[in-house]
Symmetry: C2
Subunit: 312 residues, 2 copies
Amino acid sequence: MEPIILVHGGAGNIRDWRVLPKIEGVKTAAKVAYEILEKGGNALDAVEQAVRILEDDESMNAGRGSVLNEDGEVAMDACIMDGQTLDAGSVAVVKDIAHPITLARLVMEKTPHTFLAGHGANRFAKENGMKILSPGSLVTKDALYALEYFKKHGGIQGDCGDIENPGEVGTVGAVAIDCRGHVAAATSTGGLNGKMEGRVGDTPQIGGGTYADDETGAASATGHGESIMKFCVTHSIITAIRNNLDPQEATDSVLNRMTEKLKQTAGAISISKTGDIGIGMTTKRMPWAYRKGNTLFYGIEQGKQHSEVLVE
Amino acid sequence: MEPIILVHGGAGNIRDWRVLPKIEGVKTAAKVAYEILEKGGNALDAVEQAVRILEDDESMNAGRGSVLNEDGEVAMDACIMDGQTLDAGSVAVVKDIAHPITLARLVMEKTPHTFLAGHGANRFAKENGMKILSPGSLVTKDALYALEYFKKHGGIQGDCGDIENPGEVGTVGAVAIDCRGHVAAATSTGGLNGKMEGRVGDTPQIGGGTYADDETGAASATGHGESIMKFCVTHSIITAIRNNLDPQEATDSVLNRMTEKLKQTAGAISISKTGDIGIGMTTKRMPWAYRKGNTLFYGIEQGKQHSEVLVE
């Protein structure tokens, strides 16, 4: 099986000045995480690595650079799922750790549970030797400005935010298939700018923002979290692929039905067990990139794709 | 449309001495909540009322009588969903409130979000005038004994617990259709006996433990939460009904596939927009009851049904 990794950096009405850093971010994540697959590594390690890179990238709404809640705090959600076993790990409302996706993986591998939220998730992180950062370490100037703007102008905004709102940076996610045909998905986010304390979005909801099943494929979603949750977007995409739609048709049809029914926008990426991919959005923009062999494909506008050949 | 309400009191290897109080509990909830539907009230109010009655019932694993986490605390999850709009409200890891299902409904109706967890959920409860009980108020003698048993004998046990484990009381849930053909679902639970602080189960995961969509029907699940989440049991049941299975076939087929794939057990109830119902379990027992007109149907063993006519 030829391995592939496909990543996104959040769907929304992304402003022009954010386009370039976001494209650079997803390209780097796809390029670097692919090296794991190239060496025969597994899909789970590759999606975790891609998301870790994007969590470190301040132009994304995940890890450092996350939007802030109503109290001015970074409170993050993440989920990772292994298509081979359907094992999954989710965390929600976690604070002061650099890599929520790695904490989600620890939940999957070191507890009898799949989902830890709030104080219990942070306690588990500490007990497992994960570095707890000093409060405020993940807060950036852009995030502070976005919250200030939100408090003045109102409206709940996130990565599907209004074009005028600086809080519309993006959730990040990845799907991959490895050389043995196993798939995995991972998603990480700071959620909505100005959200209430304790708000949980679609990202850590299995079948909402994240799903993977070797029998069919894997998907990661981004956009208006409340709508993605209600519509079970990634589970719906995987079910559509199982019912013989190709991933592109499946992704487009689920997102279009969600937007028609709930009047909110979203984006998603998907991959099937045959290695076909889907990249869809009902937003203006969503940065994405995928790598297959030495070619890197990427884009951010609806229907537009670029590619470049990587030279050793 | 002839209204119906169908409730469950948790799937598991329920011990004999718990059978009678559980049957009485689900019968009372179905009987009383039906009065709302009978007067032309809506499905959403009926499922909330049914679950409130079961949260007050100490023989159930919800509200007072919930199992305890590793710290000896009651930490509850709940979700309510309105099939008319797909609006939903979920709470997780909430403490010291009598009716998590009513808090979930407040999240749905009074916030721009669908899901609040932990401290933020309790803060929202307080801000909305919900009574915060003194710590320990929801802890029962049975729950204390169950935790002590768990700490001596190990193993994570919940409402799908081992027959010898006293912590195997049940998650509660309800689905209903009202005279206008609207459906709703509600589920509430104390989760797993001895669970880690912050553990979130399937109950508040839309499409995991709870789902409702007027275009198809509604469902509520119970059992091994981690497996129900990974399999998106209620969303899978609703999707199967959409693909023309009747609710009984849909419920049985999804539960059987889940148990075959993940080697864990569960139960579920469902209702279609045509008013047909499904009641399924891969556990030994699950108490259930439904009321249609003046007849109350109920049962707890696989494949066995009783009925009685209610006299005014």
